[in-house]
Amino acid sequence: MGLSVPPGRSSVTVDPPAQEGWVTTRLEFLVNWARANSLWPMPFGTACCAIEFMATAASRFDLARFGMERMSFSPRQADVLICAGRVPFKLAPVLRRIYQQMPQPKWVISMGACASTGGMFDNYAVVQGIDTIIPVDVYVPGCPPRPESLMHGIMMLQKKVMAERSLGKQEYEEIVVDPTSKLYIPPSRIDELAEPFGNSVHQTRSAP
C-alpha cells in the first residue's frame, strides 16, 4: 500500500505520486461522488436542534435532494452521525458507543452550539463539545442553526468527502510516540494542561 516505516524514524510518511494513476483517480472520483451524494445520516438528535433537523428533512428544505432522506437510526447502516443537540455527561458513553458502531467510512457533523462547544450550558452536566468524545468533521454553529446553515454544513461535508484520497493520505502522518524522550508528556497531564481556565472549581470566569 505504499506505507513504509523506515528503521530509526518515528514517523510514517506516504509517497502519494507513486500511487496515483489515471484509472485510480477516476475510480476514486466515482467512489467519492457516490458517497458524497448519498450520505445516509444518523440523526443523534437530543434537543431543539433535532427539531430543526426534522424541519430540514421536511418538505420546505428537503434533505432528499442531497440524497440524505434515508435516515438511518441504526448506526450500522449510517454514514454521517449528525449530533443535533446538547450532550450531557450521562449521554456521553452512549454517543461514543454509537460512533464506534458505525462502519467506515464515517463522518460526524456537530450541529448547533451545544454539540460544538457546550453552547449556553457551561455547567456540571453538559459535555463541552462532542469533539472531546468523538472526532468531528464539520461544526455547524447556531442555536439552533437555520436549515440553510445545516445544509451549508452538509455541503461542506460533501466537499470534504469529494476531496478524500483512498491512496496516499498526505494529510495524515502517523507519529509514533516515544515514551522515553525528554519531551514526553503523558496524556493525563495533557488533559490537565489543556483545561482553559484551570480546574472548574476555581470559577475564574467573571460571570458564573
Partner: protein
Amino acid sequence: MSVVLPGAALGPDAPLPVTPRAIPHRGGAPNPSAATLAARFPQAVVRHEVIWGDTVVWIRAESAREVVRWLRDDAGERYDYLVDITAVEHRDALRPLEMVWQLRSLPYRRFLRLKAELDPAGPLVVPSLVPCYGSADWLEREVFDMFGIRFEGHPDLRRILMWEGYAEGHPLRKDFPLRGRLSRAEQLSRALAANPEARYSMEELTVADAFHELPEEMKRRLLAERRAGEA
C-alpha cells in the same frame, strides 16, 4: 361515562374563576384549608402566610404524610392532585432547607403550598408521599438526586437525572459549584468509563434472571451499591 368536572364540590351556583388582578404581596384572602388544617393538626402546623395570593402553610417535616393524607381524603378538603414536590435551599447558610409540596384540590378549585423546614446540618429525611400519590415517586427521586434529601418509605429511592454512580454530590445544593467539583477532563473520563450497557439496576437484573451469570466482583459491587445507596 361521566366527566369529572373541577369545581364540582362548590355547587352549581359558584362563580367561575377569573384572572386575578392586583394581587397583594402579603395578606389577601387565605385558602380556607389553612385554618382547618391548623385546627385539625395544631402540633404539626407551625404557621401560615399568603404570599402573592398563594397560601403557604409551614408544617413539621415528620408529620407530612399524615397531613397530606388527611388533605387528600377529607371530604371538605379533597386535595386529589399533587402538583409538585421540590426543595429550596437559601443563599443564607443560616436559613434552613425547605421542603415544598404543592397540592391542588380540583373539586374545590383550591391551591395549597406546604413547606417543612429542615436543618441543613442535620439528617435530611422526610416522609415519602408515594403511599398517597403515585406521582410522588419520580418527583421525590429528583429531589433526592438534586438535594440529597432522603424520603423514608419510598420504594425505590435512587438517582434519576444524574447517573447512578455520580460521585460529585447533589447539584442543586448551594455549596455545589455551577461547573461541578471535578475538572472537565476528569468529569469526562468518569462519564465515559460508565459502560452504558452495564447500567441496569438491581431490579432489572433480577428480573432477567441474569444476575447469577454475572461475574462475582460485579455482583458484589451491585449489592454494595444497593446497600450503600448513593455516594
